[in-house]
């Protein structure tokens, strides 16, 4: 990743800058242009990419995860070129939701998507994305657009005749350059948005034939195919800067679902006996290498509750950048705990990367719980654990 100017954090450094300014009578604090890091294409001023913003801590280019609450907990968003690992909850109910939020955010901001799954067809996953809650300007244009399409141009309106001469607005995909949107989980994303977006799908049963014999020493066959697919897309579409004539830069959002489950051909979920030939760790290492050299961000969900070998879980966590764990209350004794009755589970921010920094931006609130309301997925801090301990 390109090194960025370190924007100082904390009050101590701001104070020292003020002191320096007053001493010299000329400010040494020079205003820089809107410098965003993440690529080094050689141009002095980088055109800002929609849906991204530079981090206020370390200048990294951030993308939103689709949940503004989660963005805040991760220090502003997910850094471009990093991996967000979601540790699935036990019955895999809430982790697909975070996965879909990430992809929906990509569609709304116009990023390119790459969806990989061994369980569901990526086209089906895209159909189930939540609908974005647009603000009033975008919504009015959408409604007028629909109404203009329905009425013919020559029909005189009897009641709403004042609207007759309004200009027709062409149907165009709603794209927004804001950072972080809200979604309505109870509705599906409109079909036009999906069709207007660019996405690539990788569905494992279609890509490999099951009769192939795997070489046990090398990487899992499914993982090899996936890595080749991702590398191909990054190279062909120029996310790694290999097409300098391409003016418009965009972010590639990669989503990989249920990595490490037996459906990917991996055996870490049912045997403890994984020596150094663990395919998943090699895959993550290579994936991170691909991501670091391109303008992409990746979300992976892993069923860590099924992984038998604890050492593998630790290795997988270390090889990812940001790790978020979900623990749902279903079936556990916490379900009947009256202090947790408002929530559906706990969310643990297990790791936040230190990118060009010595410290990482860990949120102050340690006990976080989530709740899936009918339309929204909310994350709140809860201090109940402290209370419980006191009793």
């Amino acid at each position: 990743m390109a090194a960025a100017a370190t924007c100082s954090t904390g009050t101590r450094s701001t104070g020292s800058m003020v002191v320096a300014a007053s001493r010299n009578n000329v400010t040494s604090f020079q205003r820089r242009g809107p410098r965003t890091s993440g690529t080094d294409s050689g141009c002095s001023r980088l055109v800002s990419i929609s849906g991204t913003r530079p981090s206020v801590r370390n200048g990294q280019l951030l993308v939103s995860t689709g949940l503004p609450a989660l963005d805040q907990l991760l220090g502003g968003g997910l850094a471009v070129g990093t991996v967000l690992l979601i540790e699935e909850d036990k019955y895999n109910i809430y982790s697909p939701l975070l996965f879909k939020y990430f992809l929906a955010e990509g569609i709304v901001t116009g990023h390119t998507l790459l969806v990989a799954s061994a369980k569901e067809d990526p086209a089906d996953i895209l159909q189930e994305l939540p609908a974005p809650l647009l603000d009033d300007n975008c919504k009015k244009e959408c409604d007028e657009d629909i109404c203009n399409h329905k009425t013919e141009s020559n029909v005189k309106m009897k009641i709403a005749w004042r609207y007759q001469l309004l200009p027709k607005i062409e149907a165009r995909p709603v794209s927004s350059s804001r950072f972080g949107h809200y979604y309505d989980v109870s509705k599906r994303i409109p079909q036009e948005l999906i069709e207007a977006s660019k996405w690539h799908g990788f569905f494992l049963p279609e890509k490999i034939s099951s009769t192939l014999n795997e070489d046990p020493c090398s990487l899992n066959h499914g993982y090899i195919k996936l890595l080749q697919f991702i590398q191909n897309i990054i190279y062909k579409e120029g996310f790694d800067g290999s097409n300098p004539q391409k003016k418009q830069k965009n972010i590639l959002r990669i989503g990989i679902q249920n990595l490490g489950s037996p459906l990917w051909g991996d055996d870490i979920c049912w045997t403890e006996n994984c020596d150094s030939n663990c395919s998943l760790t090699k895959f993550l290492y290579m994936l991170r290498g691909l991501l670091r050299t391109s303008l992409s961000a990746c979300i992976i969900t892993v069923p860590t509750h099924l992984i038998q070998n604890k050492a593998i879980i630790a290795r997988v966590t270390n090889l990812s950048d940001t790790v978020v764990g979900l623990e749902s209350f279903i079936g556990s004794e916490k379900e009947t705990n009256p202090l947790y009755k408002d929530y559906h589970g706990l969310i643990h921010i297990r790791q936040i990367p230190q990118l060009n920094n010595l410290i990482c931006d860990v949120s102050d609130v340690k006990d976080l719980a989530f709740k899936l309301k009918r339309k929204l997925f909310t994350i709140e801090g809860t201090w109940v654990q402290a209370l419980v301990r006191n009793y």
């Binding site: 109910i93 049963p205 279903i330 079936g331």
Partner: protein, 311 residues
């Protein structure tokens, strides 16, 4: 091997009830798995909303699950579905015992018990062993809803690597979407019997993550009970019902009603010149214009102007 001779109350109740819960209920756990089973939720497997997926029944030595499997098979057969059985642990005669003849005629039995490795070479056994048998089931192209029962998953786990088994089961239960158009009747239900004590937590967890419904048999004091875990499938609105059908009020206009509606005078209906003036405001209009249009209630009397009022 599971032993017979436990109480059959569960089998009876399961035969009366049904196996798949309604699609709108979330993951539901029975409150007390040790309590005797009082009721089994009753929706039929041919319900159009029922999930297409796999269900596994976990049993143990004390509480055997084959009778539950047979009860579910009987229910499917009575609903008119075709049932394929991959039998590995008991012989075909023993499995078919207890079914009457019309159900037996609907069962297609694939026998892996008698000669799984095809040693006798008589040509009766399924070629290729268990994996090929499963793959042949995947490639089957009969139309209509079908139930595939695997007796048992434990036997298959001992003979196949877990990864291969999981992938093949996934392909089995995804069959309906491979066949192009989506019609709700073309659903594949996969039932599997798993003996809990034979496997470690790894394979059990892996298979559980695949199954949509899981029934764990246990019991206390001679009473069997079932602990049902159901994962709600993704809501997939594939058939949008037309909301204007089946209404208690009328949304359609007859011709006379339409004419009456068109000829109605609206209270704020302006003459066309006023409309045009309002729609296209001219640029060179220094003064504003007043357009007066009397409606039905205005009383214009030319002989009584207001000019003579002293107000």
């Amino acid at each position: 091997m599971p032993s017979d001779g436990c109480s059959n109350s569960l089998a009876v109740k399961a035969a009366a009830g049904a196996q798949f819960l309604g699609p709108n209920r979330g993951p539901r756990l029975s409150k007390n798995p040790r309590a005797p089973l009082t009721e089994v939720p009753t929706t039929t497997s041919a319900h159009p909303g029922s999930p297409c997926g796999s269900a596994s029944a976990k049993d143990s030595v004390e509480w055997e699950g084959r009778s539950l499997l047979k009860a579910l098979i009987k229910k499917s057969a009575l609903c008119g579905e075709q049932v394929h059985i991959l039998g590995c642990e008991v012989s075909e005669e023993e499995f078919r015992e207890g079914f009457d003849s019309n159900i037996n005629s609907r069962l297609v039995y694939h026998d892996l018990f008698r000669d799984p490795l095809n040693w006798s070479k008589t040509g009766e056994a399924l070629p290729g062993g268990p994996l090929e048998a499963l793959r042949a089931l995947c490639r089957r192209t009969d139309p209509g809803p079908v139930t595939i029962a695997l007796d048992s998953l434990s036997w298959l786990l001992l003979h196949l690597p877990c990864t291969t088994l999981c992938q093949t089961l996934h392909t089995l239960s995804r069959q309906d979407s491979c066949h192009g158009d989506s019609s709700p009747g073309e659903q594949v239900h996969v039932l599997g019997l798993l003996h809990e004590e034979l496997h470690g937590p790894g394979p059990l967890g892996a298979l559980s993550s695949l199954a949509q419904t899981e029934v764990t048999l246990s019991g206390a004091l001679g009473q069997a009970s079932a602990h049902i875990l159901y994962r709600r499938p993704q809501q997939r609105p594939s058939h949008q019902m037309d909301p204007t059908t089946h209404l208690t009020f009328n949304l359609r206009l007859s011709k006379k009603e339409r004419e009456a509606k068109d000829s109605l005078t609206l209270p704020f209906q302006f003459s066309s010149e006023k409309q045009q003036a309002l729609l296209c405001p001219g640029l060179g209009q220094p003064t504003s214009h007043i357009f007066y249009e009397p409606d039905a209630y205005d009383d214009l009397d030319q002989e009584d102007p207001d000019d003579d009022l002293d107000v």
